[in-house]
Amino acid sequence: MSGEYRPCNWPTAVCLAMILLLAIQELTLGQTQPPRPSRRRDRSAQTPPAESPAPVAKDVEADRKEDRYLAITGATVHTITGPTLEAPTTVLCKNGKVLAIGHNLVIPDQSQKLDATGFHVYPGLVAIQSEGIVGNEPPEDHTDPFQLSMTLALAGGITTAVTGNTAAKLTFGTLEDHVLKRNLFYALNYSRQSAAERQKLRATLDRVQQYLRDLDTYDSAKSQDPSAKEPDKSWIKGEFDVALKLLRHEMTAVATAHTADQLRDLAELAQSYDFQLVVRGAHEGWIVAPELARAGVRAAVTPRTRADRDEEVNRPNGSSIENARILYERGVPLAIVPLSAQVSLGGIAGRDLMHLPMEAAFAVRGGLPQDAAVRAITIDAARILGVEHRVGSIEEGKDADFVITDGDLLHYMTLVRWTIVNGRVAYDKQEEKLLDHIRPDGRRDAPPPADYWPRSLGEPVSGTTGAPAVPR
């Protein structure tokens, strides 16, 4: 506070300080200017000096932007669409995409490394029905990327989920590259309850089909006859527009149907108008599997569904544990969904979205081949959403979405060790404090933990006795 007593000294002090400041500024400026990236200097030396500097600056900017690498090493890699590569296989990702898969890959120094020796790498699972994992539509405005249910879904191996009519990634901790695809489906209303609705739909499809025929005629005629008139398309709006997109295979229809009658009706409609259709439910799909296959209908089934047989009906009915197998064998593309499309925090564990692989394992119990069951929660599910070019298998150029497990995906003891979304570790079992106390080293034969509830954060995970570790 001595300065407060003698304010007369201030002017000189400030003058000195300003001179000093100026001198420092000049010095630092002089220092900072020369060491620009040397790469740029080289490039400008090669290029003629007359060239405008704009592209050079852009290049430098692009170079400066750091690439994000992730290398998963030592694992068994289940590519799904290709062979299963035995350990030790490396998967190298760059900026959220798979760059290379193979043995003895050169890993860039700056890449994040994940030693997955002894673990299995599968593509991230695709949940074609889900609730509450990502936010409402539009998800990029609603998702809470720190939400517990997202973490739990990741712990179940899921990397792609659906909200409303939009598919989104489970990008934990970030909103980057969150949305995968919008306008997934057109929901079809074609039930026997409302004859008027059925008639209306057929009329709409008929009219659009006629338009497409007229268009074909016009296309072939206009080369010979220049006076040919293009069919009027001013009326193609609203429902007609949707119908046109359906018939042109630009959009997929979806309908919920359980009984053989409903399924047969839908299959007939899809076949006669030739559009892509996904049926949800399909409990009695095993009865009409050939019809569904002929119409190219795809099915989202829940192998654990139970619908008792109605004894009063004189035909096969009810659910079957072999539903998935029969559909698969007849050639109906399958996706498997669990009973509850949510992550349940309320105690129906084992039936919710966290146990999607277990649901697939149930289908195996009904005779579905193991690899088909895995495909039904990965690539085939992605195909039904129309995102198979991005997710669902491990291929070079596709998204780096993986689930890394400590065993076979469909084994009931298997736990997810890491989940990778867009090349980022979105879930790490040993960091997340949810399941870290169970087999912390990934060994199946380890003794069961002394599990109890509630367990406190920071307590030792080994199950041994001892005072709780004091956090922080």
Partner: protein
């Protein structure tokens, strides 16, 4: 040190000489007073193109006269304090604070002051700057707005006579910022002294409040605001171009009319390139949608050959955003977040408005939530943060998470706001903060978080928030350490005058 200070100080030598000649008695203390009047004389040589020698002596004599006349009227108040928490340096023991005309002039030991000075004996008291409440709706009626209202001011809702600030004074608060109620962009705040002369209670507008508590609802509003602001800027640019073209055309025509002149001026040349004066009132240019009154003037205006470009009016509801995008500065913006995810959503929107500031945040539900997810991010950008004092328990765990301390450790500046607008919350505010200090928040930061930091956030730190030369004497007198539970507020001073005294 603020730059304005530096400017003032440079003028001191000449003013000091003048003052020494005129008033040899108490010159030492009068120096700062002269400095206060100096900015008026300071600006004249900068803006004027007239020679310096002409104006400088005039200004000096004017300042001298003013100084001489004001000396007799100056009101000196001297506080003899047992302990002073200045917030600008170390804690001082047994010092005097000299207050002249409501402003702190000196803090130190054995100071000289005129005999007529009023002496306040606070040798058994602790003196600290008055607490600042950065986020209040004290006794204001609910008036929630939705959508985009950056032009609305909370000052229109505040009638100081109708508000009872007794609980504020009893808790040691001397300033308060009222915030606009609502969601989206509900408007700018209003900062007041809680007591003092009526004409000196206004302290500013504080901040523009932007709510990002429910991204699904609020992101759209902020996005609209940014895109609207860009449209407004584009509109002005378009009008300017049009005006320049018209000017060029008019020039060409003038030259055609003039005899024996074949040469053409380049388009957009001449005065079209000059930087336009923005604040002329005469309407001279066609806007996209000119008001009815302007159209009539148009013919006359073109006939008069307008000399200056007049930009079309900017939509006041987005003016604050236009200023940020165009000038890279403006009213501070405070974003109100509800959870860690909201920060990501905010950043998502600000990707379209990189010119906007993104580092002043209010974390509501602050001590209970998932803020630990973004503490590092907030620290990296040295965010300025308003939170309520409290230590949370993480969901499903027994871990006590000390968010304020973690934020400070990470590199943030925090302002602490009482938990709610009840008298009890105001009363217990110091205790809540004491709890934070006990659990690891640095004491120094905790005290600043109630005084200097909110002043900085509200851009009133040049006037209040600490005990420093030139700042307003808005002080609190306590009978002990401000964080001790036993301590009571004894007296409150604003602008050098006692405005409240404890009845106990």
């Amino acid at each position: 040190m603020p730059s304005s200070y530096r400017r003032r100080i440079l003028l001191w030598p000449c003013l000091a000489v003048a003052a020494l000649l005129l008033a040899p008695g108490v010159t030492l203390l009068a120096l700062a007073q002269n400095a206060d009047t100096s900015p008026k004389t300071d600006t004249s040589p900068k803006t004027d193109t007239a020679p310096k020698a002409d104006t400088a002596p005039k200004a000096d004599t004017a300042a001298d006269l003013e100084a001489a006349s004001s000396l007799k009227e100056e009101v000196f108040v001297v506080i003899r304090a047992g302990r002073v928490l200045t917030m600008a340096g170390p804690e001082l023991e047994d010092v005097e604070i000299v207050v002249v005309d409501g402003r702190v002039r000196l803090v130190g030991k054995d100071l000289s002051y005129p005999p007529h000075a009023e002496v306040i004996d606070a040798r058994h008291e602790v003196v600290m700057p008055g607490l600042i409440h950065p986020h209040s709706r004290w006794q204001l009626p609910g008036y929630a707005r939705e959508g985009l209202h950056a032009d609305r001011s909370t000052a229109k809702e505040v009638f100081l006579d109708e508000l009872d600030f007794e609980p504020f004074l009893a808790a040691g608060f001397t300033s308060v910022c009222f915030y606009p109620d609502g969601t989206g962009v509900p408007g700018v705040g209003a900062v007041y002294r809680v007591a003092g002369p009526a004409d000196r209670r206004e302290l500013g507008t504080g901040y523009l409040r932007v709510v990002m508590a429910s991204p699904g609802r609020d992101k759209r509003v902020l996005r609209d605001a940014i895109s609207k602001a860009r449209q407004e800027i584009e509109k002005v640019e378009k009008a300017r171009k049009q005006w320049e073209e018209e000017q060029a055309k008019a020039q060409q025509e003038a030259k055609k009319d003039a005899p024996a002149e074949g040469s053409q001026t380049p388009p957009g040349g001449g005065d079209g390139q000059k930087p336009p004066a923005e604040k002329k009132e005469t309407p001279t240019v066609k806007t996209d949608a000119p008001p009815a009154g302007e159209k009539k003037d148009d013919a006359a205006a073109t006939a008069d050959k307008p000399k200056e470009f007049v930009p079309p009016p900017i939509d006041p509801t987005v003016l604050a955003f236009v200023e940020w995008i165009r000038d890279k500065k403006g009213t501070p913006i405070l974003y109100e977040l509800n959870s860690a995810a909201d920060l990501l959503h905010l950043d998502d929107v600000l990707r379209q408005g990189k010119e906007l500031p993104g580092d002043s945040l209010l974390l509501s539900s602050s001590y209970y939530g998932d803020w630990f997810r973004v503490v590092e991010t907030l620290g990296q950008r040295h965010a300025t943060i308003i939170i309520s004092p409290g230590i949370g328990t993480l969901p499903d765990t027994d871990v006590r998470y000390h968010l304020p301390a973690e934020l400070v450790l990470a590199g943030c500046r925090i302002s602490l706001t009482p938990r709610n607008d009840s008298p009890a919350a105001l009363d217990q505010h110091r205790l809540q903060v004491a709890e934070l200090v006990r659990a690891g928040l640095p004491r120094d930061e905790a005290l600043k978080a109630m005084t200097l930091r909110p002043a900085e956030l509200l851009r009133i730190e040049s006037r209040v928030g600490s005990i420093e030369k030139g700042k307003d004497a808005d002080l609190v007198f306590l009978d002990g350490d401000p964080l001790a539970p036993q301590t009571k507020v004894k007296r409150v001073m604003t602008l050098g005058q006692m405005v409240w005294e404890s009845k106990q």
